[in-house]
């Protein structure tokens, strides 16, 4: 009886030891790629459930000489469970493009769908979303920079920990899956460890030279969960131009529906 009890206890100890060793092994064996992906997944998870939001954006374009030009844009975004978000952006200024609107259906896999409404002709035009490296309305942001950043659009690699703007950050590289059409070979992203918010992104062009840097400021929490920035600055190191986006009037869970994101709603967006 004693022997068998002892044997059983021994077996249990060995099992526990074995399992914990395996567990430690598996943790330490997490590759930089797995860790990079895990960070992106966690960041995405923390913003899930926003349902929808609206916001106003002021876009300030600055050229090498420091001359400024402004654009005002309103946007509506709908969370789509299981696929990329849907969004509608409407231009208020400059006045000659007032009422111009973009409707975008992002997809986790494959090309996004995009339409443009031109108010003077009342015309809806399909846009080829593969031209994602093109400038968004003359700014230093390209279509792929302002599009919904779905996890599946990149592969990842964790690099190191680093402090940026007073925040302890994970530094990861991400590589566009659609290598042929992206304007980038890679992006380096700084996300803080507390809340998984993006503070800085460095963009490297297809020749792998440093093209742009995005700096994010002034995060505020909305609906008790979702962090959104007050300001983003994109500096193009090659052209000397920069674009600042200032956000305000964020409203979450406003009750937007699928039917607020179709071609009819695009035509009457204004």
């Amino acid at each position: 009886m004693h022997t068998s009890k002892f044997t059983r206890a021994l077996i249990q100890i060995v099992l526990v030891l074995f399992l914990s060793v395996r567990l430690i092994q598996s943790v330490s064996a997490e590759t930089p790629e797995e860790k990079g992906l895990a960070i992106a997944v966690e960041a995405d998870k923390r913003d899930q459930g926003f349902a929808d939001y609206t916001a106003k954006m002021l876009m300030i374009l600055r050229n090498k000489q420091g001359q400024e030009s402004k654009r005002e844009i309103r946007s509506k975004t709908l969370e789509v469970v299981g696929d990329g978000d849907k969004s509608l952006s409407i231009f208020d200024t400059p006045r000659d493009v007032k009422g111009t609107a973009f409707l975008t259906f992002t997809h986790k896999v494959g090309d996004d769908e995009q339409w443009l409404f031109l108010p003077a002709l009342k015309r809806v035009k399909r846009i080829n979303s593969r031209n994602k490296s093109g400038s968004f309305m003359g700014s230093e942001f390209s279509y792929e920079d302002i599009a919904s950043q779905e996890i599946e659009k990149y592969s990842y690699k964790y690099l190191k920990d680093e402090k940026v703007a007073g925040h302890n950050c994970f530094v990861s590289e991400r590589y566009p899956v659609d290598k042929k059409n992206s304007g980038y070979s890679r992006q380096v992203v700084w996300l803080d460890k507390d809340q998984y918010r993006v503070w800085q992104v460095k963009y490297f062009d297809r020749k792998n030279s440093h093209l742009k840097t995005l700096t994010v400021k002034g995060y505020q929490q909305y609906a008790g969960k979702h962090w959104r920035a007050d300001e983003m600055q994109m500096v193009n190191h090659q052209s000397g131009k920069s674009t600042i986006l200032k956000f305000n009037d964020y409203k979450f869970k406003t009750g937007l529906k699928e039917s607020d994101f179709n071609k009819n709603s695009l035509k009457r967006a204004r």
Binding site: E113, R130, G138, K263, N264
Partner: protein, 417 residues
Amino acid sequence: MQETGDRSQKTESSEQWAKNVRRCLLRLWLPLLIILVPLSAHGYEFSGELSMEGRFFLGPSAYSEQESQYGSIAIKPEFYHQFESGSSVLFTPFARLDSSDDERTHWDIREASYLHLADQWEITIGISKVFWGATEFVHLVDIINQTDLVESLDDEEKLGQPMAHLSVPRDWGTVDAFVLPWFRERTYPGKHGRLRTPLVVDTEQARYESESGQQHTDFALRYSNTFWDADVGIYQFLGTSRKPTMELGRRGETPVLIPFYQQISQTGLDLQMVAGSWLLKGEAYYRSGQGTSHAATTFGFEYTFVGIIESSMDLGLIGEYVYNDDTDDNVVTPYNNDIMAGVRLAVNDAAGSQLLTGIINDMELSSTFVSVEASRRIGDKFKLALDATLFIDIDENEPAYSLRDDDLVKLELVYYY
């Protein structure tokens, strides 16, 4: 003799100008101001555009009444209000004052409509504008609104159309139903205007096949949907043809052309499709009731190079073809068997500078038509546009033969407020 002729022409045109000013002010602007100033004070959104334009014709005029330089101003205010429910009202009048062409001096209500938004459908009642189509050069299937031809040759300026328009978007596509209770006549340049037929079109004598004339009620039904990467629309239109056939007539002693508007049935199809890095576009219609039944089609592609020559400029290449099998002589279309090529340059600078160049070549006749459109913003509220239109080697069998000497440069400054 020549000198006296010139002088009398000038006096005539300045009298015309004064008359036009008076006409515009009295008919449109005073009543408008009286109605709209109090409205805008009650939280209505007020915006609009004011434009100044100079048109310079490069060649001597083909007809003695024509000028070589024309100046004009146009105004298009817009009043808009959205209610809590999402429903809205919109009012957009338009007026142009031309230095010489009596017919180009005109006004119109581009929009005066109420949009009612319900959960499952929406309805627009009043004067409104609807565009159907996909291609860049020729707009074949666009039919709801009448073309305001005195404004431009490209079929893109339209007159406001009275309508009741019900739109029902569903998972399986969108159905749009139209009742169009009043017909708008196409505008044509007057005898002092350029870009016209040898005989002036006398719009006041317009004739109709239908006994109800301009009061004939037209109908249209359209189904549209997105299938994978393609946006497709198909429609049936029953009513008065937007484009008339021309008949010879007289005004006093002067021979003129008289527009004759027939009843037609038109089935139309339009398609825009993403195919890899390409955009494919197509339009087609089948029309009966106007001479022999006939079909027409136009289709083509657009391909964009992004960030050319290490800059942020985008360069788009456009190729299109148009074919019309209408063999009747009285329904004239310049686009019977033509090929088109275009280049679109978007500079992507703060001024939004753009350049669009196009060439249309008739494959049967030698005729070639070239168009250049350049524009840029000046500050936040002004836009400068320079357009050039050239008619090269126009064959005398071409319907556009009378435009052969009308090569034109147009400079326009628009102020947005």
